[in-house]
């Protein structure tokens, strides 16, 4: 049966290629849409996980790092460092700002750090070594064609770009990194508000523990001694940011992915239906030769599965290429089209589409009159 099937597919190569190509395109688009969503969630998680620390201290009642305002009292660093089991606590502050160049405005999150919590990995340039230097993410650098050494004016305050980092963006926002030494200068000399008391001086503390100290115990001790703060394990805070991403972005992304799946079923079904309908004559010959309806049904199902199986790897490669293309075009996005769960879901769905599509014309096979072969 398999040999006959392969011969059938090779018989009209251009049509087989078109049908396979259409299914591969459906697979690629679903994987890219899934990859977009997965990428957004990974970016949200990485924002927390890339900052380091064994524990993260936030304002009480705040349980996210991204897109929220957390303000800790200035003296909380000393209070946290005084807790038994804490080796050190590094301050981190985030400020939402808008960068403008030649009339083009882009929202950025400015991370102000001391020794920990800085950029993830440098793409080019060097770490900050001098006053008034900044490291910006590649997405921002490429958008404005900025390089190390260039001037970066933020709210009328002049920074110089020391380096370009990679993977420091989330929630459609690029990150910038400056040192705490420059924060007060920035607040006083920039054209931010007249009253800088409205801006946070300390948002988070990244806590490193003594060797052998238990995270949960130390977290409880910190919360007891600093009532204005909540303490999270980085992985837990990352989970919360991912959960927020799912709530905020999920409905839109899931609706779009769901629609793509529905259209995928329709298209694959229609392609299979048309293919079988176009070969009724051949199937009639087989029926006239004594092959049963069950055999013909297995035959068309196997053909559909074979075509889908050939199309799926092509679709995956297409999705990877599309993802790379999108990321090179717009580094703000992370596209992960080969994440295990979405990939498995898409492959299974594609086989499902193919089977459903091949079963659509089942009544035509059952009602097929073998005599038609001899009448035509």
């Amino acid at each position: 049966m398999l040999l006959y099937l392969i011969r059938q597919l090779r018989l009209d190569m251009s049509r087989t290629l078109m049908r396979g190509g259409a299914i591969a395109a459906v697979v690629a688009v679903i994987l890219v849409l899934e990859g977009f969503y997965a990428g957004q969630l990974v970016q949200l998680r990485n924002t927390v996980l890339n900052r380091g620390g064994d524990l993260i201290v936030l304002q009480a009642g705040v349980s996210n790092m991204i897109a929220v305002r957390s303000v800790l009292p200035q003296f909380s660093r000393q209070e946290v460092e005084a807790v038994d089991g804490v080796a050190s606590a590094y301050p981190l502050t985030t400020v939402a700002l808008i960068y403008e160049q030649a009339g083009v405005r882009t929202p950025i999150s400015l991370f102000v750090y001391d020794t920990g919590g800085g950029p993830g990995s440098l793409f080019t340039g060097r770490p900050i070594e001098q006053d008034r230097e900044i490291i910006i993410d590649r997405s921002l650098a490429e958008k404005y064609q900025l390089s190390p050494g260039d001037v970066f004016i933020l709210s009328d305050f002049e920074f110089h770009i020391a380096g370009i980092s990679e993977g420091d963006a989330a929630y459609f926002t690029s990150f910038g990194f400056v040192l705490f030494d420059d924060l007060l200068d920035f607040y006083f000399e920039s054209d931010l508000a007249d009253d800088i008391s409205t801006f946070p001086l300390l948002s988070f503390l990244l806590v490193n523990l003594d060797v052998g100290a238990d995270r949960a115990t130390v977290a409880q001790r910190i919360e007891a001694s600093v009532p204005s703060a909540d303490v999270y394990l980085p992985a837990v805070l990352a989970d919360k940011d991912e959960a927020l991403g799912r709530v905020t972005l999920g409905p839109i992304f899931e609706t779009m992915i769901g629609l793509a799946y529905i259209v995928g079923i329709l298209v694959t079904g229609i392609i299979m239906f048309a293919a079988i309908n176009g070969r009724l004559q051949n199937l009639g010959v087989l029926k006239a030769l004594g092959f049963s309806n069950g055999y013909l049904l297995r035959f068309v199902m196997l053909e559909a599965l074979l075509l889908a199986s050939l199309a799926i790897p092509v679709g995956i490669v297409l999705a990877i290429l599309l993802g790379v293309f999108i990321e090179s075009l717009e580094p703000l996005y992370l596209v992960l089209p080969t994440e295990t769960t979405p990939l498995l879901r898409t492959v299974l769905a594609c086989w499902g589409f193919a089977i459903v599509g091949s079963l659509l014309p089942v009544h035509m096979i059952y009602r097929l009159d073998p005599g038609m072969v001899f009448r035509s």
């Binding site: 977009f36 304002q59 882009t106 709210s155 007249d194 409205t198 905020t248 409905p251 629609l259 329709l266």
Partner: protein, 371 residues
């Protein structure tokens, strides 16, 4: 000629229906994606678009609301109120943060209202009050529905509890749902007092928004004033970068798939008629007639597909809006027209490829076996 074109189109009704269904599926995908894009693009600036200000005043250097940080001392609000060309000023203090209700968490724009606010508060209420007192909050009806909240339910912003006293309409969107609290509470949350983020200014009778902008910027130091129209344009531009551009990119990818599928459908439909068209050529039909026939078929199938997809989308959108209230969908004539034009262009291009092969055929081949 027209009769022949119609006849060849309707020669295989089942295959015609398959072609229309196939292309309609592709169009349905892109129409729905466009619907999401159009809906979210409008909803993301719902607050700025709906409040009845003539001019927005903010901190110098700021020119939109989305993701912007603007702080103005309250004495500047009083200075603006005293200007002759000003009829009224509503000052707001706002913050983007996460609100929590039980297990439900949502990213929101929290607007602190200087109560009583004449026009800076919710513009359409579903139920309850539109002026929050201290400790009270007004939330979008959609949010309340999703989190199973009602009037009297509790909600948390940072570490403060609020009681829901009103449910607003048209204030929910993916990126910035708008909730309203009292400005006194907002100052507490931000630990910053006697400040505002924006002034929403109404011009005195006879004063144009442009004149008012000029007056405010001349009379008040270190502020930036914009007409409501310009502020909306700026805010939409910024908000689009924060989410809707992604939807646009996804729509583009969906569109590429739709184009491919439409091209595939039309190509297959025309290619299937190769033999019949070759016979027609052998019987004297000119190349021009053959091209006219395939182009006619391509246009007919495409338009029928777009109409079918639009009808299905029109039926599907209210169902989806009920099932997934967090997604705002909007079917616009502009979107459908744009898709139809692109579809017809793609279909004609795809149909001309097999038609060209037929036009080059030797008419005699039609009568040869297997021709």
């Amino acid at each position: 000629m027209t009769r022949w074109m119609l006849k060849s189109l309707l020669l295989e009704p089942l295959m015609l229906m398959i072609a229309i269904a196939s292309a309609a599926s592709a169009f349905l995908l892109i129409i729905m994606f466009e619907g999401i894009f159009a809906g979210e693009s409008e909803q993301i600036v719902a607050y700025v678009r709906n409040v009845k200000a003539d001019v927005w005043v903010m901190q110098r250097g700021v020119s939109n609301m989305h993701m912007a940080t603007s702080y103005l001392p309250d004495w500047k609000v009083r200075q603006v109120q005293e200007l002759q060309s000003v009829e009224a000023v509503d000052a707001i203090l706002y913050l983007n943060t996460v609100v929590e209700a039980g297990e439900h968490r949502w990213f929101s724009y929290v607007v602190g209202l200087d109560v009583p606010a004449a026009y800076a508060g919710p513009w359409a209420m579903s139920v309850g009050r539109d002026q929050p007192a201290v400790g009270e909050v007004i939330v979008p009806e959609v949010f309340a529905h999703m989190a199973q909240l009602e009037i009297g339910s509790q909600l948390r912003i940072t570490d403060q509890e609020f009681t829901i006293v009103g449910l607003s309409r048209e204030t929910f969107s993916m990126a910035n749902s708008v909730i309203f609290i009292n400005k006194i509470d907002m100052e507490d949350i931000m630990s910053s007092f006697d400040i505002s983020s924006f002034m929403l200014v109404k011009a005195a009778p006879g004063v144009t928004p442009d004149d008012l902008v000029e007056t405010i910027e001349r009379e008040i130091d270190n502020v930036h004033a914009l007409t409501a129209h310009q502020f909306l344009i700026n805010d939409k531009k910024m908000a689009m970068q924060m989410g809707t551009d992604t939807i646009a990119l996804m729509t583009l990818i969906g569109g590429a798939l739709a184009i491919l599928l439409v091209a595939f459908t039309i190509y297959s439909q025309v290619a299937r008629q190769r033999r019949e068209l070759a016979v027609a050529k052998a019987l004297g039909a000119t190349n021009r007639a053959l091209y006219a026939s395939v182009v006619f078929q391509a246009i007919a199938i495409t338009l029928a597909s777009v109409i079918l997809a639009t009808l299905v989308a029109a039926l599907l959108m209210p169902v989806l809006s009920t099932l997934i209230p967090a997604v705002t969908l909007r079917l616009t004539v502009a979107s459908v027209s744009k898709i139809a034009v692109a579809g017809v262009f793609v279909a004609i291009t795809a149909s001309l490829m097999p038609a060209r092969q037929i036009a080059r055929l030797d008419p005699v081949s039609a009568f040869q076996s297997g021709g």
